[in-house]
Assembly symmetry: C2
Homo-oligomer: 258 residues x 2
DNA sequence: GAGTGGATTTCGCAT
DNA sequence: ATGCGAAGTCCACTC
């Protein structure tokens, strides 16, 4: 039984060889990295051209394409997953065309020199987890409403109203309805205005006093004033606190279980 | 004088060697690619963990970091440019920590096996140009208003009015004011409503008949009906056509110049 | 430096 | 499939 080769490297391959490697890698659903001198044309939702230069060209197993320059977080050209590849070689130039349907678009990359090709078979079953998201904050509030205010009773969450979705709503100690808008980071004016819209929309639907509460770790400068003007409340809440509450509750559940 | 080495490759380096290569690459502002088995912790605007698996780890010259799995357009973990790096090696594990200020966040990547390290010095002066943007469509309309309708005379563009910006406005053959809202791709209901707001706003300001014209390559399903209901016009216009017009005009300008 | 809007946004989820 | 909202969005531009 042959051993797995996670990485196969070709340094300065002849263009004919490079062409064959690329063809076999793209048809064999391998991850492919090319470093070389190339120029790129994109046609699709917009159009673009990239003049010659040395870049890193990556094709992943699912047919996504990334072309990276030596600077910047974002790829200069790209294609999301699902591309079909056409690789050709003619008069000293290797051309890789990646075509996607829906939306119809294509990236054509021409290489006149290939410094390096790497073909990878990556084994990756590891799980990725993101914590302290807005969803976690919502869960934390539902688990322990007192972190927003004492006596709050959540009624429901992710409720659809005309302008969008309300994160949580509940009844406060004085029997008023409380609309809760959650932001996991510093809330700006747009968050305040969104909450105002929700509150307005709910006021037109229910026969009860309605309050709006913005829950966020912080506010931008102008937002505080805007909140006051619009008669809305604010409750400072750190996402880390929420993560803690979720952790505690999970632990408690486990303890109750045993 | 030593020749430039655009690509230096190390296959299955010992971890001690790998550590030194990474240190010298990050301090020397080189582009670095590592393929290996790693796990990742992120702390910052949110928090995340990524369990062990084989991935591609990239550091660029400006200190941006990308960690890519074998699938998907987006990196699983990343850091925009400006990170500072701390590389250490202890009990068989290579740790690379990338820290950024403002916002304060860090990615810590641990490798227990490195299949490949590539250190690159990419020369890339090529210019990147993107065509047929919304701005290009606006320019094309100003250059040749007849593509919207015969006899249209543009008055001004990007005029500030209450709800936002009017892309172009002009006077039509019947002396009416025409508000033109441009979308470079399929226009949705929100574009229609925005235009309606603009038209409404202008009607309150001028003593003249005011029309609204939505210019876009396509409409979403419901938008057509909404346009009719609101008494607005639609003009289909392909961004590629606009690019063509701009090209022709530039050519003509050159010809006139000589 | 902070806020605002756009993107070849991408992605996920609900309809 | 389509539409809508969120993102560790990033990025460029304005104030």
């Amino acid at each position: 039984m042959p051993q797995r080769r996670p990485v196969i490297v070709y340094e300065n391959p002849r263009l004919e060889i490079a062409t064959e490697i690329v063809k076999s890698a793209t048809s064999g659903r391998k991850t492919l990295i090319i470093a070389g001198n190339c120029w790129v044309d994109y046609q699709g939702r917009a159009s673009s051209t990239l003049e010659p230069g040395e870049r890193i060209f990556i094709v992943k197993e699912d047919g996504s394409v990334l072309i990276h320059r030596s600077k910047g977080y974002e790829p200069v050209n790209w294609q999301p997953s699902g591309s079909v590849f056409y690789t050709t070689q003619r008069s000293g130039i290797l051309t890789i065309r990646a075509v996607r349907r829906k939306p119809r678009e294509s990236i054509t990359t021409h290489f006149d020199h290939v410094h390096l090709i790497v073909v990878l078979s990556l084994v990756d079953k590891g799980e990725f987890s993101l914590y302290a998201s807005e969803e976690d904050m919502q869960r934390a509030i539902l688990l322990r409403p007192s972190i927003v205010e004492e006596g709050l009773k959540p009624i429901t969450y992710e409720k659809k109203v005309e302008p969008g979705f309300i994160d949580v709503y509940g009844i406060d100690t004085k029997g008023r309805m409380a609309i809760i808008e959650i932001k996991r980071k510093t809330a700006g004016k747009e968050a305040v205005l969104q909450l105002a819209k929700y509150v307005d929309s709910v006021r037109n639907m229910v026969n009860r006093e309605v309050r709006g509460v913005l829950v966020a770790p912080q506010l931008v400068k102008g937002a505080q004033k805007l909140l006051v003007t619009l008669g809305l409340d604010y409750r400072q809440l750190d996402p880390r606190k929420c993560a803690e509450i979720i952790r505690e509750t999970e632990t408690k559940k486990l303890a109750d279980f045993y």
